[in-house]
């Protein structure tokens, strides 16, 4: 179980990238976090993994993040955690599966299923962003944790393999938080919980996310809103079967641009 309370992260003083975030991820719960680029999704993920200085309280299975050591329950696809040594993909897989106490064979098979065999002799930084993302996704999945924290899981990945990934995520038995700006992927995760993130603030949760599949955007506050979000200094309501349909926006960047422009 993940508990995040009053989380704030600043890279520059007075400019919070993540602001007053509260989030709970229960055992076996799966949630999706949608936000445009630069909204603070990756920083939130980095904070939960202890990779960035933060204010607030983060607990994993009741233990304070700062005191955590050698906990195998969490895995991530953030590529910055896979640069421990200058190794090629096959060696990297062997190392990380050993460190996680997991079966390297399963991981290699999964990579082969994704057509990544050609990358085995290459270093992570020599790969395309899509290949890198797939490899780190597989490394995280194959370490069979209780909790997966997955950032921009579909970035640079082709449509066929996006679908395979979505199936794998749905089959995963533990709790999971994935972030993406691709609104169009929401249809594959309709039974998941849903959060939105704009300008470092978290809005939600909508549960299940299928509620917003037919919803639309209405400016201002609406009494029938499923969720109200604040972005670019404006309040926007997500209302069932009203306003401009959300599905018209391919990703959250488009939605955010429109809010800023108008």
């Amino acid at each position: 179980m993940l508990e995040v309370r009053n989380l704030a992260v600043e890279y520059k003083k007075g400019k919070p990238v993540v602001n007053a975030v509260n989030l709970t991820l229960h055992k076996k719960e799966k949630v999706m976090l949608l936000g445009p680029n630069g909204s603070g999704k990756t920083t939130l993920m980095r904070a939960i993994l202890g990779l960035v200085k933060y204010n607030g309280d983060i607990k994993i299975d009741g233990k304070s993040l700062e005191r955590l050591r050698c906990e195998l329950c969490v895995a991530t696809n953030l590529d910055e955690v896979y640069y421990l040594l200058a190794l090629n993909v096959k060696e990297l897989t062997s190392l990380y599966m050993d460190l996680k106490g997991c079966d390297v064979k399963y991981c290699i098979e999964l990579m082969e299923d994704f057509g990544l065999k050609d990358t085995f002799g290459k270093k992570l930084w020599q790969l395309s962003s899509g290949q890198k993302r797939l490899i780190t996704n597989v490394l995280a999945l194959a370490s069979r944790p209780k909790m997966l924290l997955m950032d921009e899981v579909f970035e640079g990945v082709d449509p066929a393999r996006k679908l395979t990934l979505a199936n794998l995520f749905n089959q995963f038995g533990g709790s999971m938080l994935i972030t993406t700006h691709e609104l169009s992927m929401l249809k594959y995760f309709h039974h998941w919980g849903l959060y939105f993130m704009f300008e470092g603030k978290l809005f939600g949760k909508v549960n299940p996310s299928s509620k917003i599949l037919d919803a639309g955007i209405v400016r201002g506050e609406d009494p029938n809103a499923i969720l109200k979000v604040e972005a670019a200094g404006k309040v926007v309501s997500i209302v069932p079967k009203a306003g401009r349909p959300l599905r018209e926006f391919v990703d959250l960047n488009m939605l955010y641009e429109e809010l800023i422009i108008q």
Binding site: Y11, R46, L49, G50, L51, V52, K53, L65, L68, R69, C70, E71, L72, C73, V74, A75, T76, L78, E80, V81, Y82, Y83, L84, L85, A86, L87, E91, S94, L95, Y96, D98, L99, K100, G101
Partner: protein, 279 residues
């Protein structure tokens, strides 16, 4: 057991560009110059010395070049080690929190890796020095105490590894990670300063400095193991007295243990450096 980390650590260090470039290539060039270019004046000086003292003088000259070149090589190599840690802080923080690798195991494997790597590097240097200097002087200048030489290399390597980690971790702890790019070169600069002071300088209080400075401790032990003779306070003037190798060894051990304890504390407190903070 997480032994794969140890295996891959050794492999990545052995084939690291700074190991091949600075650790071996640069030092071989330096030793070659010492044997064939900078030795011209020394060879002229030999003409004014009784012929039965030639072997001793040549052995002193060779051991001096061996010890200072080894120190430069090892300390140059630590620049790469410091940058390795700097660029992998996120990975280190993650694996220490969310894998079976504990901070103590991480440090132990890295130190054990250095224990293997530095003596290996030292062997390549001993072979080159023996070949170059024997050929240049026409005398057999083999190392007099090879086991001691390996132990001295090992101690030197561990100390320099811990020092480079300390400098990197301190910059991170002080919230000035970008300072690493400058401070990582400190071991080389200090190595040059201290080795030159032992090669040519003599001033009041120097005897104390030579016995407590870890860089001079390293030079003294390597030169002593190579030549098997007492090491003068100043290589250029053997009449200034000699180094007490026992005291020198205790001093280096003290530095090594202290750095080890501070490093383990700092690594537990280490935070990840965001890629935005690299430049």
């Amino acid at each position: 057991m997480t032994l794969k980390y140890f295996k891959y650590y050794i492999k990545s260090m052995l084939f690291h560009p700074s190991m091949l470039g600075w650790g071996i290539g640069f030092t071989l060039l330096w030793m070659f110059l010492g044997a064939f270019v900078f030795s011209a004046e020394f060879k002229r000086a030999l003409e004014h010395i009784p012929i039965d003292a030639h072997s001793t003088w040549i052995l002193h000259y060779t051991s001096g070049w061996f010890s200072t070149s080894t120190l430069y090589s090892f300390s140059s190599l630590t620049i790469g080690l410091a940058f390795n840690l700097f660029y992998s802080t996120s990975s280190v923080v993650y694996v220490l929190k969310f894998t079976r690798l504990s901070p103590v195991k991480y440090y132990a494997y890295n130190i054990l890796g250095s224990l293997l790597m530095f003596p290996l590097l030292s062997v390549s240097m001993v072979v080159s020095v023996y070949g170059f200097y024997s050929y240049s002087f026409g005398k057999d200048v083999y190392p007099r105490n090879v086991p001691l030489l390996m132990i001295a290399s090992l101690l030197a390597g561990v100390f320099l590894y811990l020092l480079s980690m300390l400098l990197t971790l301190s910059c991170i702890a002080l919230g000035r990670p970008r300072l690493v790019r400058t401070i990582a070169h400190a071991p080389v600069i200090l190595a040059v300063l201290f080795s030159y002071s032992q090669l040519y300088g003599y001033f009041s209080g120097m005897e104390t400095i030579l016995h407590i400075s870890p860089f001079n401790n390293i030079i003294s032990q390597l030169a002593y193991a190579y030549s098997g003779m007492d090491i003068p306070l100043t290589f250029a003037n053997p009449q200034t007295g000699f180094i007490d190798v026992g005291v020198s060894t205790i001093s280096l051990l003290f530095w090594t243990v202290t750095l080890c304890l501070v490093d383990v504390y700092l690594i537990k407190k280490m935070r990840a450096i965001s890629p935005y903070e690299f430049f």
